[in-house]
């Protein structure tokens, strides 16, 4: 099916933009862990959504079959990506849409800015979009005198608070209702000063705040959840109706989408629209899904653009053992079940993509050698909850381990002084590479008792093990290893038998 590329494998071209941590994960995580309010909000939110997801998934007798179909469909998309993109382009263009290709974040931003200027606008309304988050579009437009208004309630909260999203589905998950009311009172010019913190009143305030913007906007910017190659159709999945407003009312619609979002056929939606809502919001179906194919006369925007974004996706695709990270449909189920995410929140991951998927996707898009992202694959206990929850069966733990090995390997290449972990691993490899050597080392185990207190507990260890003994004791080693006991036991038996 797929045409084989005859050129030489090229050097991967990595992505740029909001894909980096500002500091290593353990450092950022430690700070976030100290935020009691954050942890309480996150704990409540992730548990609520986890339970909802389990309930609606259990309703479907064919959930595993849907996952199988979803997973295979995405693998097929990756294998045929260039050809499917060309097919999509042909269909989308034939129906009046215009396609733009962007190698990286900077190029995508420039394209969008020029399209907005061509439409004669200096402000735009936006539907929540990970791709525009990733390329830092709002900041870029701001620098160029264009105001971008986020219209999703959570994105609006985050934007009004000059904060960053902490979750890809519910970006303001780290804030509770009273914090949100305070933000609205402070930042919304026309807000009712008696605003209470009931969610219904807060949603009403957002409606009033944005209504005029929707009705008068000339240009809207969106992402896309799916692009259907055989028809040239784009799809946006949402809840509030802000998406429908943006996708329907303005004259010009600009969509920014990663190249990996394709599905081969329109009928594939029958699988993905069962997988996505149940996995993301824990609903049987999200309130609104909009599909459009180029331009429809007399209905919706008459200037329809799509920016197809690489920004490191081709580099991720080149990693045979990591490329399935591109199967991600951004449902966020993995972060809602992740015990690490639950305690640190999204900000600790730095990148637009937090949680387990972010811990693999960010380094794949930027390269593992990018210093800040090298700590991300270690931000997991490899408990495997994410793999179980993933609707398209991305084996996140396996890719985490793969990326760790890439990290170790890349540091081996440099002339850096080996760290304590490197030295310890080398020593352990020597010892554990032979039962005989292991036995010799075990003979010295009773010496470990010297490190223990009178209660036979070790309470303080040096170096890389210090983190362990900050909150945990270690038992003193036994007087005799099992191996030693077994040898003595069977020696005795053997000699008794001989006697």
């Amino acid at each position: 099916m797929s045409s084989t590329y005859l050129g030489m494998p090229a050097v991967p071209v990595y992505g740029s933009g909001n894909l980096h941590t500002a500091e290593p994960f353990p450092v950022a995580a430690r700070r976030e862990l100290d935020n009691e309010q954050l942890r309480a909000n996150l704990g409540h939110a992730t548990h609520t959504i986890r339970d909802k997801r389990l309930r609606v998934v259990a309703e479907l007798p064919d959930w595993e079959e849907l996952r199988e179909a979803g997973s295979a469909t995405k693998a097929a998309v990756m294998a045929r990506l260039p050809e499917l993109l060309e097919q999509f382009e042909e269909n989308f263009t034939a129906r009046g849409g215009v396609i733009h290709w962007a190698r990286d974040a900077a190029e995508a931003n420039e394209i969008v800015r020029d399209l907005i200027r061509d439409a004669g606008a200096d402000e735009v309304v936006k539907v929540k979009s990970m791709a525009t988050q990733e390329i830092g579009l709002n900041e870029y437009l701001e620098e160029h005198g264009i105001s971008a208004f986020e219209t999703d309630l959570a994105e609006l909260i985050v934007q009004l608070d000059h904060d960053k999203p902490s979750h890809i589905l519910v970006p303001a998950i780290h804030k509770n209702r009273s914090q949100i009311r305070d933000i609205f009172l402070r930042e919304m010019p026309d807000v009712d000063p008696n605003l209470t913190d009931t969610p219904a009143r807060l949603a009403e305030a957002a409606r009033l705040h944005l209504r005029r913007k929707f009705l008068s906007a000339k240009v809207a910017i969106s992402g896309a959840n799916f692009a259907l190659a055989d028809t040239g159709t784009l799809a946006v999945v949402e809840s509030e109706g802000n998406g429908r407003m943006c996708l329907t009312l303005p004259e010009t619609l600009i969509t920014v989408m990663g190249v990996e979002k394709l599905l081969p056929s329109w009928t594939d939606l029958e699988v993905f629209m069962q997988l996505l809502p149940r996995s993301s919001t824990g609903e049987r179906m999200n309130p609104y899904t909009s599909l459009w194919t180029g331009v429809t006369e007399g209905d919706g925007p008459q200037n329809v653009h799509l920016v197809l974004l690489d920004n490191g996706r081709s580099a991720a695709l080149a990693d045979e053992r990591g490329r399935s990270a591109l199967h991600c449909i951004r449902c966020s189920a993995c972060m809602n079940v992740c015990p690490v995410y639950e305690r640190t929140g999204g900000h600790a991951y730095g990148s637009t993509y937090p949680g387990p998927i972010g811990a693999i996707l960010s380094p794949l898009l930027t390269g593992i050698t990018s210093e800040e992202n090298a700590s991300l694959p270690y931000a997991s206990s490899l408990c495997g909850a994410c793999y179980d929850a993933c609707p398209v069966k991305i084996n996140i733990p396996e890719i985490l381990v793969h990326l760790r090995s890439e990290d170790v390997q890349s540091r081996r290449g440099t002339k850096k002084v080996p760290g304590q972990m490197d030295v310890a691993m080398k020593a352990a490899s020597w010892m554990m590479g032979s039962g005989r050597r292991m036995a010799l080392v075990e003979k010295a185990l009773p010496l470990g008792k010297l490190a223990a207190g009178p209660d036979r507990k070790i309470k303080k260890l040096p170096g890389i093990a210090a983190g362990w003994t900050r909150s945990r004791d270690l038992p003193a080693p036994p007087a005799q290893s099992f191996r030693d006991w077994w040898a003595k036991e069977h020696e005795d038996t053997a000699s008794k038998e001989q006697a």
Partner: protein, 274 residues
């Protein structure tokens, strides 16, 4: 049946009583236990930390050690190490391009069982009290470790065996499926997040009112027990193999007993041979 015991490095060095309990259970069922002398470690720590080069000799050693012995099935009292042997060894061999080692790894992996899976699926143990004489008249709770649960799909096998121990009362653990935060080197590299996970796990354990938490992985139990000990909770941990091996004549330590490795080993050494 001839059963090869894979003790696992942590049990061999730190919790020998768990391996002895495993031997005792299998012998009571009338099976022959052998201990391949060349064994050391499954290499999981290296593999999961990304040290593939360093993992190769460890994995190779495991495969050679178990090829050198004649047996019907191999068993380990650890879901995590068995998952590594079954899933990771062949993957590592493939990633270093050694197809011979890959084939051999697959063969060894196919014959290796986690203890509860062997007891339930192969040896037909459905009633520990009747078939093993298991006796442990205490109220306990149980944590199902992640790798046994998610990589080996052990389901309720360990808990079901515990439920059939005479006198044992099993308290359900809230949020049992949540990771304890060990994760090998994760507990060192991300010690703070790991501690936060452990604190929640241990709060749930304490909430059951049981004075002992059992499980199927010595590493997770070392982690949980280390935290419980530091908190001064008075709650102890014990591998399910030791509870299955516990009898009226040779009872396992009761809940709350301090279980420094040395004491249990000393106890075992002093108890003589059956």
């Amino acid at each position: 049946m001839k059963i090869a015991l894979f003790a696992t490095c942590i049990v061999d060095a730190m919790y020998p009583s768990t391996a002895r309990a495993t031997v005792s259970i299998l012998e009571r069922l009338g099976h022959d236990v052998v201990f391949p002398a060349g064994q050391a470690c499954c290499g999981q720590m290296h593999l999961n930390s990304g040290y593939f080069t360093e993992a190769v000799p460890v994995v190779r050693n495991h495969i050679e050690a178990f090829e050198a012995e004649e047996y019907d099935v191999a068993v380990a009292p650890s879901g995590s190490c068995v998952a590594s042997v079954k899933h990771q060894h062949a993957m590592l061999a493939r990633s270093v391009g050694d197809s011979d080692l890959e084939t051999r790894a697959t063969a060894v992996g196919a014959r290796t069982y986690e203890l509860s899976a062997l007891l339930t699926d192969v040896l037909g143990v459905t009633d520990a009290a009747a078939q093993l004489g298991s006796w442990y008249p205490h109220r306990i709770t149980y944590h199902p470790s992640c790798h046994g649960m998610r990589l080996l799909r052990l389901g309720d096998r360990q808990a079901n065996l515990l439920r059939t121990v005479e006198g044992l009362e099993l308290e359900p653990l809230p949020e049992a499926d949540q990771c304890c935060g060990f994760g090998g080197t994760f507990s060192l590299k991300n010690a703070d997040v790991s501690s936060a996970m452990l604190a929640d796990k241990n709060a749930n354990i304490a909430a059951t009112g049981a004075q002992l938490c059992s499980g199927g992985d010595a590493s997770c139990l070392m982690h949980i027990g280390g935290g419980l000990s530091r908190e001064g909770s008075g709650i102890s941990t014990l591998h399910f193999a030791e509870i299955l091996a516990s009898t009226r004549e040779h009872p396992a330590p009761p809940p709350g007993a301090v279980r420094g490795g040395s004491r249990s080993a000393a106890r075992l050494a002093g108890k003589g041979r059956q």
